[in-house]
């Protein structure tokens, strides 16, 4: 299973620039051309898969606009008795919080169909029968999900204005009842939170270090890319020299949790996403069927490039392409 681990900067002797090693494989004779899914393939997909897991950005919506045809596609899947989940690595909102985004886009979803990384953190703690307190670096979403699971917490937005002055003899107290630090995306990250989390992880025996995700980039606006939770998590890795348990993509916790909850085999579940290195890789690592849509960040060129090693089972221009086999599929179902 591929988990994106980052080691600390290498302590290299010598003043040579350190660039990340890029493995370029020799260019093969001709670049391939992976075709879009045929109607037969689409019918086959709809027959064998009982549950669809969707990445949201680039699959269901683009920025603030739902992709045309998506609501009808979801209706079709539901009427065929398929289960659907919407997965997002964004931890700032709880599942209930995301509901309003879906509803404002005209999408009819239930909170239980949304699998946010904020929910994943709480679900993980529940799965290990966690009884202690949690120190949270993150926004309200994580706190709300912890509340729903009855897990006590401290930190979060209430530590946004705390400052460290480091006066003579300054000593930061910390709660020795904290048994886990959960780090999610936090636009109000500061040195106080970093130090508090560090003390918990270093000094509380057995304290867990959990990350909702490690995405380097998050899409908050269309105009530019924004530093993602990879940086908040990086900060705590830097101060503790420990690696976290990642509960969001591309870790397979979410997938295991979903398949266990539904009682389905992995091959009965299809991951639908627009990113090869996260969504499709994530699905493959979990033994799922995988379907790439070209309505998001991945282009046909990138898919077919000799440098790309990640081959999805199916390729669609966009999710609503499944509607072309609606009648045949509904009959077969």
């Amino acid at each position: 299973m591929q988990v994106m681990l980052r080691s600390l900067p290498s302590t290299r002797a010598g003043a040579r620039p350190v660039r990340p090693a890029r493995k370029m494989t020799p260019c093969l004779a001709a670049s391939r051309s992976i075709p879009r899914a045929t109607n037969e393939q689409k019918i086959d997909l709809l027959k064998k898969v009982e549950c669809f897991i969707f990445d949201c950005d680039g699959v269901i919506w683009l920025g603030d606009k739902v992709i045309e045809g998506v609501p009808e596609t979801l209706d079709m899947l539901r009427s065929m008795g398929k289960k659907v989940f919407f997965v997002t690595n964004n931890s700032t909102k709880s599942r209930a919080g995301y509901m309003s985004k879906f509803q404002s886009l005209g999408l009819d979803v239930k909170a239980e169909e949304i699998y946010s990384s904020s929910y994943a953190a709480a679900a993980y703690l529940e799965s290990i029968n966690f009884q202690k307190k949690v120190y949270v670096i993150g926004e309200t979403g994580i706190l709300e999900e912890l509340d729903l699971k009855g897990i006590r917490h401290l930190g979060g937005p209430s530590d946004a204005d705390k400052r460290v002055t480091l006066k003579s003899g300054e000593f930061m107290e910390h709660d020795h009842g904290v048994g886990a630090v959960v780090v999610g995306f936090d636009r109000y990250i500061n040195y106080f939170k970093i130090q508090y989390a560090t003390l918990c992880i270093r000094e509380n025996p057995g304290c867990l270090f959990i990350a909702t995700n490690r995405d380097a980039v998050t899409h908050l606006t269309d105009a530019q890319e924004w530093a993602g939770n990879g940086s908040m998590v990086g900060a705590i890795v830097g101060s503790t020299k420990r690696e976290p348990i990642v509960v969001g993509k591309p870790s397979d916790f979410m997938l295991k949790n979903i398949s266990a909850t539904l009682g389905l085999r992995p091959d009965q579940i299809c991951m639908v996403g627009d990113r090869l290195d996260t969504d499709i890789m994530f699905g493959k690592n979990g033994g799922l069927a995988t379907s790439l849509v070209l309505s998001g960040v991945t282009t046909e060129e990138v898919l077919n490039s000799p440098d790309n090693k990640v081959i999805p089972d199916y390729v669609l221009s966009k999710l609503p392409d499944l509607l072309t086999v609606k009648e045949s599929a509904m009959v077969a179902a």
């Binding site: 980052r6 600390l8 900067p9 290498s10 302590t11 290299r12 002797a13 010598g14 003043a15 040579r16 620039p17 350190v18 660039r19 990340p20 460290v164 002055t165 480091l166 006066k167 003579s168 003899g169 300054e170 000593f171 930061m172 936090d186 636009r187 109000y188 990250i189 500061n190 040195y191 970093i194 130090q195 560090t198 270093r202 000094e203 490690r214 380097a216 980039v217 908050l220 606006t221 105009a223 530019q224 890319e225 924004w226 530093a227 993602g228 990879g230 940086s231 908040m232 998590v233 990086g234 900060a235 705590i236 890795v237 830097g238 101060s239 503790t240 020299k241």
Partner: protein
């Protein structure tokens, strides 16, 4: 196989004195490396609880026993308690009287070389600016060697900006970006960067925030030729006398996490400071010795860079830790304290230039 070493005999100390022309002393653990200006027993009711041990420590060492007082927070190579290690000043003067060169190195990027030199002199050890190496100076010196003409975006504090400015580098960020926030209520929030930035330089920053992370990340991601410089990557440091605090490694790792770029490290344990020191003062590596109290930084630094090392036991490392079979970092020699070197004095030929 780990070779166990014994404490340096008088003959070994004499040989070291005669052989090494440049003595590089670790400054970390100096009283002013704390944000407080002096190192005192913590009196106001905060009693440090039993805390973590330094990584690799297998037995309660100096730190665990000295937590209650906080005095040992000032312990290092040259400092013990609220004063100098007995004999340290005299030994350094002895070195100078025999034409040996003396240097002081710290990974702390927050105070300039001038500040460090002034404080050393004030406490009885005469030191010039040129004898002090900070990781902030290393960053500035490195940029100069590349003929850097652009601007530097600084994630760090005033000391770092001071060293870069002293090297003629225009800085953006640093203390000026303390408290700066993205306004998320705007319809299209954004962080615009100065297009002339050619390097992101990162040191300890107690005022780290999302705005700075985003600014630094954007500089590195938008421009692959923008350099990424880390003053140091220490995970922790003694920034107050009672406790260890998250170090510069935090800020550096945060920016690695969002930019997916690796930095160039300039401070210990990279070789740059030793390279610069040897080149500038025409010293050959085999005539150089690093003296410090930390196995995983000072001693490892010297060992990895072809320089002899001497461990002192007045700081964080105890004899038990040093000699433990689990310890993989062996200095060339070790002594209880820097002052122990004074036993060589009567064994030396009379110096030509008596001080």
């Amino acid at each position: 196989m780990v070779v166990s070493i014994k404490k340096a005999t008088d003959q070994e100390k004499l040989a070291a004195f005669q052989n090494y022309d440049a003595w590089v002393f670790d400054l970390d653990g100096a009283p002013w490396s704390h944000y407080s200006n002096s190192c005192r027993v913590v009196r106001h009711g905060y009693f440090p609880r039993a805390t973590f041990r330094p990584p690799g420590a297998s037995a309660p060492g100096v730190i665990a026993n000295s937590l209650i007082s906080g005095i040992a927070r000032c312990a290092g190579t040259i400092w013990k308690g609220s004063g100098l290690v007995p004999g340290a000043k005299e030994f350094i003067e002895l070195l100078r009287s025999y034409q040996k060169k003396v240097f002081f190195v710290t990974n702390n990027a927050t105070k300039s070389r001038v500040t460090n030199a002034t404080k050393l002199t004030g406490l009885g050890i005469a030191a010039t600016t040129a004898e002090v190496y900070t990781s902030s100076f290393a960053a500035a010196a490195y940029l100069k060697t590349t003929g850097f003409r652009k601007k530097a975006y600084v994630v760090g504090e005033k000391g770092l900006v001071d060293e870069l400015s002293a090297a003629g580098i225009t800085c953006v960020g640093g203390p000026e970006h303390v408290g700066k926030e993205v306004d998320w209520t705007e319809p299209e929030p954004q962080v615009e960067i100065d297009p002339e930035i050619g390097a992101v330089v990162v040191g300890l920053d107690r005022y780290i925030n999302y705005y700075k992370l985003q600014y630094a990340t954007t500089c590195l991601v938008n421009n692959s030729s923008c350099m990424f410089i880390a003053c140091n990557t220490d995970s922790r440091g003694h920034f107050s006398s009672s406790q260890e605090w998250a170090g510069a490694g935090t800020m550096v790792a945060a920016i690695i996490g969002s930019s997916e770029r690796e930095p160039m490290l300039l401070g210990k344990p990279a070789s740059f400071i030793l390279d610069h020191l040897c080149a500038t003062h025409q010293i050959s590596r085999d005539k150089c010795v690093v003296v410090g109290d930390r196995l995983d930084t000072d001693i490892l630094w010297g060992n990895q860079n072809g320089v002899a090392t001497c461990c002192v036991l007045t700081g964080v490392t105890s004899e038990a830790q040093l000699l433990s079979p689990e310890n993989k970092v062996q200095p060339k020699l070790y002594v209880d304290s820097l002052g122990d070197f004074l036993t060589v004095k009567p064994l030396l030929p009379t110096s030509c230039t008596i001080m």
